[in-house]
């Protein structure tokens, strides 16, 4: 509660200060004499606010902006990489050496002629066990579709910008891809001259498939470095797509030879894949 009631002496003091206040007000109102004090205070206020902002808020703001711009840069980089990967996939698809739609009997939908655009699906890698891929027989990979133009992706061919890497065996939320190098997988291949055909099975080693054949049946001379292509037999893979070249020839006996073919496409070299259905 407020204190005591002012005495007569205090009332005079009140009156004096009210009078003094009025004089100051009148003086300031008519002559504007205190403008320099007001300007000084204003400049002090502005510089104080600036200084406080500079020392307290600005470092945090700069840090935040720095991280934000870095994040933006990373995002931009990722977007560019993705666009580049897609462009590479497109280029791979239309390159003269690997014209996917050359085998018209198998690939029916790679190009939407109305829109002049590719209608294959684009998928992003979700999971691949690098250790298993480099050491063991079971070579599987999980991919997630980013854009899909197909109702079902089962048995679709999966490729990256270097070539075919496998086929889809499970079509769920994530597509399970069996790689060409999985020991349970085989791909029908042929030589360029089309006088040699075989089923190349996965070796369980990274980027190597093995073609076993009987030299008494297939008499074509196979040398190191010879290139092999998909034969299109079996109806899964399109015809005439280059697969790899021979890196090793193993003579097992007079009726059996193994050709070790190094694949051109490495599933670990890209994050983005094309999924195309026959």
């Amino acid at each position: 509660m407020a204190g005591k009631i002012p005495t007569s002496g205090q009332k005079i003091l009140y009156l004096s200060f009210v009078f003094l206040g009025s004089i100051i007000f009148y003086f300031d109102f008519t002559t504007n004499s205190f403008q320099s004090i007001k300007n000084g205070y204003t400049s002090f206020k502005i510089s104080s606010i600036f200084l406080i902002k500079e020392t307290t808020i600005e470092p945090f703001k700069n840090f935040f902006n720095l991280t934000k711009s870095k994040e933006n840069l990373i995002q931009e980089n990722n977007n560019l990489k993705e666009a580049l990967d897609i462009s590479n996939l497109n280029n791979y698809l239309i390159s003269k050496e690997n014209i996917f739609y050359k085998d018209k009997n198998i690939i029916q939908y790679p190009i939407d002629k109305k829109n002049s655009s590719f209608t294959y699906s684009i998928a992003k890698i979700k999971y691949i066990n690098h250790n298993i891929f480099n050491c063991c027989d079971n070579h599987r990979m999980y991919i997630e579709l980013i854009s899909s133009n197909l109702s079902s992706n089962l048995e679709s061919v999966v490729f990256n910008n270097s070539g075919i890497i496998g086929q889809v065996i499970t079509d769920e939320k994530y597509l399970e891809v069996i790689l060409l190098t999985d020991i349970d997988h085989s791909i029908p291949i042929k030589s360029k001259s089309e006088s040699f055909y075989c089923n190349a099975r996965g070796s369980g080693r990274a980027n190597i498939i093995i073609c076993s054949y009987n030299p008494l049946v297939w008499d074509e001379d196979i040398l190191l470095g010879k290139e092999f292509f998909t034969s299109g037999l079996g109806g899964i893979f399109p015809k005439d797509i280059i697969i790899g070249n021979v890196v090793n020839i193993i003579d097992i006996d007079s009726t059996k030879k193994d050709l070790e073919i190094k694949l051109f496409a490495d599933p670990l070299e890209s994050d983005l894949f094309g999924v195309i259905r026959n």
Binding site: M1, A2, G3, K4, I5, P6, Q10, K11, L13, Y14, S16, F17, V18, L20, G21, S22, I23, I24, F25, Y26, F27, D28, F29, F34, I37, K38, Y41, T42
Partner: protein, 157 residues
């Protein structure tokens, strides 16, 4: 010294809020002198006897930080200090509503005088009337608030 610093910081804070909300509520023809009301409440609640010197100096500081002509707040703060002190015994028998009306009227007086001195060409009775009602309602609101939160606002307004 600690008490003095607290007061200064509080004045700056209240004045900052006052100046911040003024442009918004002025669109509704309301002038809400928060600094003046806060000072009035401080004098009213204070157990010490607030003298004219303190009122004058606080008024001068408010003049400086709010960019008004020097002396206007100093004078008005002195007057309200005097009025509150002179009615200090009467307040004890006043009801809450009467106290609210007193502060509402004094705030309206402050608005009227400052408008006459600083804003004569745009002086408006409707602004004065709406502000009068608003200030009384604000005081009633604070009183009700103090009833609901007696420990936070630990005395009757």
């Amino acid at each position: 010294m600690k008490d003095f610093s607290k007061k200064i910081i509080f004045i700056f804070l209240i004045n900052y809020i006052d100046l911040s909300i003024a442009p918004i509520i002025s669109k509704a023809l309301i002038i809400f002198p928060l600094t003046f009301l806060s000072y009035s409440l401080y004098v009213y609640r204070s157990n010490k006897n607030i003298g004219p010197i303190e009122g004058f100096l606080i008024g001068l500081l408010v003049d400086l930080i709010s960019g008004n002509f020097f002396g206007i707040n100093a004078t008005l703060f002195c007057i309200i200090t005097y009025l509150i002190n002179i009615y200090s015994n009467s307040f004890k028998i006043f009801s809450y509503l009467q106290v609210c009306i007193f502060f509402g009227v004094s705030a309206t007086g402050y608005i009227g005088f400052s408008q006459l001195a600083l804003n004569l060409y745009n002086f408006s009775y409707s602004t004065l009337l709406i502000s009068f009602i608003f200030n009384i309602l604000f005081c009633i609101f604070i009183t009700i608030l103090s009833s609901y939160f007696p420990k936070t606002i630990n005395t009757k307004i």
